[in-house]
Amino acid sequence: MTISLDPTNPSSKKLQPTGWLRYFSFSLDHKVIGLQYLICGFIFYLIGGALAGAIRIELTSPLSDFMPREVYNQVLTLHGTIMIFLWIVPVVNGAFGNYLIPFYVGARDMAFPRLNAVAFWLIPPSGLMLISSYFINGAAQSGWTAYPPLSITTPAAGQIIWILSVLLLGGSSIFGGINFIATILKLRRPGLKLMQLPMFCWAMLGTSLLVVISTPVLAGTLILLSFDIVAHTGFFNPNLGGNVIVYQHLFWFYSHPAVYIMVLPAFGLVSEILPVHCRKPLFGYATMVYSIMGIVVLGLIVWAHHMFTSGTPPWMRLFFTIATSFIAVPTGIKFFNWVATLWGGKISLNSAILFSCGFIVNFVLGGITGVALAQVPFDVHVHDTYFVVAHFHYIVYGGSVFVIFSSIYHWFPKFTGKMLNENLGRFHFALTFIGFNLCFAPQHWLGLNGMPRRVAEYDPQFELVNQISSMGALLMALSTLPFLFNVFQSAFQGKDAGDNPWKALTPEWLTSSPPPVENWKGEAPLVIEPYGYGKNNSQQESKITK
């Protein structure tokens, strides 16, 4: 009985370089592509973080003195765009999705390996293009939301480059999404049922649905916007009879789901990490699956909560308030189930668990401020203030970035066959956690008391609190040092990990570390209980003693 799970043309594999070189090549191996995404994304994270550093330096004093005002706007636009489109989205989807999904469905590669490589190789050029716009003619300076008419009136070159690179990145993520859906639904190993898949597959399936449904709308919108800029049409130009609110609706129709594109895969990753280090099955598998799908459906119908102070009629505000608030229910289910997974486990307090639990704590706070923001009467005061900045950094940094770090600690042994240094890892966690909260918790107060976002200058009364926040940012920047040191040191001189250092049951651990080119030497294993920790203990022991 031969199972043909390998979609790639075997002859093309021979052309693939091996060794370190393959990470710089048009490789078709999903593991190589996954790591390419990860490393490329991390470089952009450092760039985006350096821009955040520039923002925080500017904001240590109430005057606009560190950089010109236009440059400040360019910096915050690039910071937001890079962090979202070149760091979080490619890493939680592209990096971990590509690396793990084929293992989880028992395949040797993704459904469309070539498309996969194309999707990755769209990213570095568009990222470089975006950043180089800063040096050519001034980068885009209308925020990552690019609201017209501002985006039509600011210098055109930067805005057009911004649109082009976001279009390319959107295309990349659509290709990725199609690939994930096809891999999960069509490439599953025979005998493996959907409800036996590891939770990350479900998270990626939900995310990819959102990607495929919503990203094209962003693409269409940006095409219209670019027409307004280069061909002087009037879609969003009120002077020519256009309507600026339509842009906002279309933009948020994508960009609200985009926030779940940034966080659902992170939910999936946490669901993989917790059971392993707690030595317990994932609590409430089925409800976890339903709640992901609930988030996907609800996520598509809440976009106007970003527009409560724009021109929206009352009925619309109320509808979007209710719909948005209800996202707390499926999300809450996930959090309670994770806590129940912790409960009664045998938890190793290692870096992976610490970052995952940091994620839970931070995200709950960010989610609660989110539910507050969803209430129209509450939002009319804090919309477009630092309260919102605090809300989303609690979620994107305290949520997604914490999970990325957690995942690196968890899967590094798989990637390289070496262990990371745990003490350095815990130190990294402590520094990040303290720095993060120091940086963003005070921003809630700033927003409530009257500091708007996207400003380079502010009232002197906010100086002290801004300086505290900048101190936190400094700590966060410093916290990357032990991490980077740890990664480089361990990759070369780390302790050997063996194939399965965590004694994990998910399929990627049932092969060597790092895995061979086609994932398994023999046939793919059938894992129908990826979270079967602690079950049939007696049976297991008797087998060992035999």
């Binding site: 009136t153 707690c278 507050a372 203990n537």
Partner: protein, 275 residues
């Protein structure tokens, strides 16, 4: 799951959580987290804020407490290589923690609807201006929150002070139709309802007075309306809250809330026509 967990520590957690929640309530009532209240809208807003803050604190502290407790109580002891209890799920628990947030959310939703209504969000806009206006743009006016219905839906025209606001890069310009006054600073009397009709000349701006707890975008090609009643004399900042270009951060003005007679003085001095 109770058997393996000592009952006393569960009770202890409960007690700690409750006392932390009480602390949250105390903070909500005693620590100033918002600027002073200077409009009829503000006390209503602050009431909502308190309720949200209390609910949020209880939820957040509860979650943190459970996570910390689990990490401590269920940490792996040295030398223990075994697995945890193989609990895979529990239907009644799932129902429980689906229902609780749903109830909380329903409560929050209904409550904030009530607040929204009390802020005048649901009452029709512009009922006090001549509605026979035939300008097509006026017919699609969209509004922010007004404080109409707070004072027994007083729709007497003489009680309302209409003002027009034009925003442009990077200034707010106010026009008083009654005295034909044009000014860069907004003067309003205490206790009188103000109806701001806003339009932008170029890009989107936003009119925000933190002390009034009110914000409304000022949109080109799309007039918007904001109603409010100031309640406390003083000078408060008007902040532009929508990115509108390089000097967005400098696009500020003041609203000067005067006692009625001072306001009248100011008005008489500046009015072009006597009324």
């Amino acid at each position: 799951m109770g058997s393996s967990v000592p009952k006393t520590s569960a009770i202890l957690t409960l007690i700690i959580s409750i006392s932390l929640a009480v602390l949250g309530v105390w903070i909500a009532y005693n620590i100033k987290m918002l600027p002073i209240e200077a409009s009829q809208n503000s006390p209503v807003y602050d009431e909502l804020f308190k309720v949200l803050f209390i609910i949020g604190t209880i939820l957040f502290i509860g979650m943190v407490a459970i996570v910390l407790y689990s990490l401590f109580q269920f940490r792996r002891r040295a030398g223990d290589e075994g697995d945890g209890i193989p609990l895979e799920g529990n239907i009644s628990l799932e129902i429980f923690w689906t229902a609780i947030p749903a109830i909380v959310i329903l409560f929050v939703g209904l409550y904030s609807y009530d607040i929204y209504d009390r802020m005048g969000g649901m009452s029709p806009l512009m009922h006090h201006e001549n509605s026979s206006n035939s300008n097509p743009l006026d017919q699609k006016i969209w509004g922010g929150i007004g404080s109409d219905s707070i004072e027994s839906s007083n729709t007497d025209n003489s009680m309302v002070l209409p003002i027009e606001l034009t925003a442009m890069q990077f200034a707010f310009i106010f026009h008083y139709p009654k005295g034909d006054i044009i000014t860069g600073e907004l003067h309003v009397p205490v206790g009188k309802k103000v109806s701001l009709k806003m339009e932008s000349k170029d890009v989107i701006h936003a009119f925000w007075v933190p002390q009034f707890r009110l914000k409304q975008d000022v949109i080109p090609g799309q007039p918007t309306v904001l109603n409010f009643t100031p309640t406390k004399a003083g000078t408060y900042p008007i902040v532009c809250a929508e990115l509108c270009g390089p000097y967005h951060g400098g696009m500020r003005s003041n609203v000067i809330v005067d006692e009625l007679n001072e306001y009248d003085n100011w008005f008489q001095q500046n009015a072009k026509e006597t009324i």
